[in-house]
């Protein structure tokens, strides 16, 4: 769809076409930079996913996120390209949705997270998908993530529901566990693979 790694940079600020430097950095087919935003109900483990991915840690009693927090992480793919994820982890409570556009505007990737033990959070995930379809970048890459997969005995959202919903909406689906680190790296690698690459000529 002609999206390039530089999309977030270009459309995020009010700077218009000023980001030559950035484009120089990201239009490089070998080194992508990507703005990624995590959305989802409160307490589904957004911050934990990021912390696991970026620092390799898991804290069962992590802090409430107020507003949003930022972390970045670079991964190398097998084809020797690197992808630097600039991750905005947003607050989960409903009313913070008022501030969410600030963070998902211009994002190239949105990761919508729900908790497999909470149908409510699955509903909320669907709300976010709709919101993104309405107000996000038209060529945004979306991933639907069912977190807390380690709590399978308490599962209330069947994996099939997630798969079907993701398929219907052209999303990529995965179940993860930030606690056991299951599928966390896979999630981000898969996203990286799906990123539209800038053509080498550009």
């Amino acid at each position: 769809m002609g999206c390039s790694g530089s999309v977030p940079a270009r459309s995020s600020g009010q700077s218009g076409g000023l980001n030559n430097l950035e484009n120089a950095g990201s239009s490089d087919a070998k080194n992508l930079r990507v703005k990624l935003v995590l959305l989802g109900d409160s307490g589904v483990g957004k911050s934990c996913i990021v912390l696991r991915f970026v620092r390799g840690q898991f804290d069962p009693t992590s802090k409430v996120t107020v507003g949003a927090s930022f972390l970045s992480q670079t991964i190398a793919l097998q084809d020797s390209t690197t992808v630097k994820f600039e991750i905005w982890d947003t607050a989960g409570q409903e009313r913070y949705a008022a501030l969410a556009p600030l963070y998902y505007r211009g994002a190239a990737v949105a990761v919508v997270v729900y908790d497999i033990t909470s149908p409510d959070s699955f509903n909320k995930a669907q709300y976010w998908v709709k919101e993104l379809q309405k107000h996000g970048s038209p060529d945004i890459v979306m991933a639907l993530v069912g977190n807390k997969a380690d709590l399978h005995e308490k599962r209330e959202v069947p994996a099939q529901d997630g798969i079907e919903y993701a398929e219907k909406n052209g999303m990529f689906f995965i179940e993860t566990s930030a606690k056991t680190a299951d599928n966390i790296n896979q999630l981000f690698e898969e996203i990286a693979k799906r990123l539209p690459r800038p053509s080498p000529s550009s």
């Binding site: 430097l21 996120t65 409570q93 501030l99 600030l102």
Partner: protein
Amino acid sequence: MSRNRFNFLHNSELELRRDAYGFALRPQHIQGYREYAGIYKEEEEERTQKWKNFLENQELAQLRSTKEKYKETLQANSTEFEEETVRDKNSEGNKAEASELKRTTFSEKGSEGNEAEASELKDETVSVSGSQVDEAQDTRWKADLSERSGRSNVPEGTRETVPERGREGEKAEVTELKEETLSERGKKGDDSSRKSDSDGSKELSPQKEQLSEETKTEKVQPWAQIRPSLGTIEHMMNFRVKKRKVMKGEQITKSGDHLPSIDEARSSGGESDEDIKEKVCVTVTSYGSVNGLDDKGSQEDEVSPEPYFPWKEELESLVHGGVPKDLRGELWQAFVGVKARRTERYYQDLLAQEINADESKEHDNSFGVPRKWKKQIEKDIPRTFPAHPALNEDGRDSLRRLLLAYALHNPSVGYCQAMNFFAGLLLLLMPEENAFWTFVGIIDDYFDGYYTEEMIEAQVDQLVFEELIRERFPKLVHHLDYLGVQVTWISGPWFLSIFVNILPWESVLRVWDVLLYEGNRVMLFRTALALMELYGPALVTTKDAGDAITLLQSLAGSTFDSSQLVFTACMGYLTVTEARLQELREKHRPAVLLVVEERSKGGRVWKDPNGLATKLYSFKHDPELLIEENKGTEGSDDALADGDLSYKEPAANLDNMLSGLSVNSELEGRDLQEQVVWLKVELCSLLEEKRSAVLRAEELETALMEMVKQDNRRQLSARIEQLEQEVAELQQSLADKREQESAMIQVLMKVEQEQRITEDARRNAEQDARAQRYAVNVLEEKYEKAMASVAQMEKRAVMAESMLEATLQYESGQAKAVSSPRAVHNQSSVDSPKRRIGLFGLAWRDRNKGKPSNLEGSSDRKSTN
């Protein structure tokens, strides 16, 4: 329990990974913290000393005034006389004046700025017992002077029993009064003051319920007064709270909110009805006194915004320097004006209501805290300062109660993430109910509109901050723009969390010190600007968005030099004032409202159901309060005699009083409860209509603005067109001129070229001439040569002639001898040509006589050749 918690903060034997407040340190900050730990300690000692001196001076001054007062009381019991003396004393100035001001306005004898304040504003009965109160007061002062640290203020003497009694009363009330009928309310008013009564009601209550009560509310820490030495500060801040309330009331009146209707109802009731019940009369009179007080207050406002506190500047500089740990909890309460805000038993009522709602298992919105907030609170409690030693099970229970009570208190906010941290922080510093009222002050006043469902003010503030930062740090913003970073991505969380979890704790507390002292959000802006000032230079060196954000986050997180931060903020940004911010907020608010409006139109299903329901709910909740209010004043005589605290600060409950009045005056003899609810529903729908009308008006206004703008735009574009035309014309003429010029130049060039050509021609001609001259010379030379050769030839010819003549003569001599005719004939035929040559040669010789030498030379040469 509070003492335990408090002590914990003082415990120096803390884990390595926790700071002096028991908060976990991030691993990358441990080093930084260690470096500053020593500095913090020194600073703490220094400021403890400074504050001690300051407060001691305050106390001495106050003690003096109290003693004088005591004497006066002994001298005369008449209020009028006392008022006169008080007025006399006003001229003395100093701290005493500040306290007396209040005395004058309240026209009562209780001493101010401490426990006795709660029993102020009473009538003659109190005056009689006043001396006793003062006496108790006096001893208390002394006690307090000797015992300065710790919570010494729920201590010895008659006061000891007061909170306890209050609690008993409250327990009784909870169990006994679910219906909240008037008569029962009346009893409650007495309960708080008469121990026997409260005992009685306690006995009435069923054991089972009481048990459940105890398990749930027993743990609630009693309300604790702040130490009297801070009374003057508290008094100053209380004044601010009252003033703000008055202002708010005025604003509401102006903006046409729901209060005016009540206001009208009140005035009509007060004026026309003569047969109002006694109860109503009481309300009216008490309202009158409140009104009178506020009138006085506002009159004073006109003269000078606040009464004169000579030590205010000193206090301000002390606050900028930081508040000592020991005093922080109480000073914060004083800053927020907790005493002026507090309503007796309000907190306990809210809790009881919540518990009842819980027990009745009716989780509908109309009773108890709405489920979604409850769920959210439950989720967030373990995630609030996780693993902080003080937030054990008890601590979490307190946190839960506080947040639930607040959600009931203000349903327009309910619960918002971030509030959990504030409540947690306050609970670390003060008893639960005190924390509740401080919390109420912060969220309802300081951050009004911030944490509501739409978070409008939070969004407005971000726009304001962005404008400020663009104005202050154009280079930095330009760089961030260039990187594609929006400042508000980072500053948004700063503001919403009031820097909790953003800055190191020492810095957070220092910022809060100033923020709470100032009573508005100015410090929020100043601190954020100071951070940008401190870290802007580093940010400018970053090369991509991710690096810039990461750097700023980590730098902010390591701002251990809290003094530098606070001073940069307070001194560097003096022009960032509340007035300026308000102006900017007004400017940016319409844009935010527009977006919010559009979003809600866009079908946010889960937002709408709250509107009316919560409002209705809150109104249902209100009547209890205001009825209690009325009763409280009615039963005040006894309460006062006992020095109890059942009396509520008048201004604090102005609103409630207003509504109470309207209810009473309009609905005499009817079922009050029902009517109140009905009225409120009516009001509610009116409010809703009004709000939508207001919204519509705003919409129209924006549309109008848009139109005006477009209109302007049209004019502007016309003007631009005109200008453009002119410019084009000018350009045209300029071009013409240029053309002319170039033509001229061309002409000139042609002329020049011609000139050059002619010159060339001349030069050629000259050359030609020279060549010709040369040719002439050559020719002349040739000619001369030729002439020379001619002369030679002539000579030869002459020679030949002479030779011929000689030959001829010789031949003729021979011929004469031979004399043959033929011979003669031959001679004549040869002779004729020779003669001709001879003639010709002679002629040439004559002409060249001028150059004989030449001729001679050349002939010589010829001859030699």
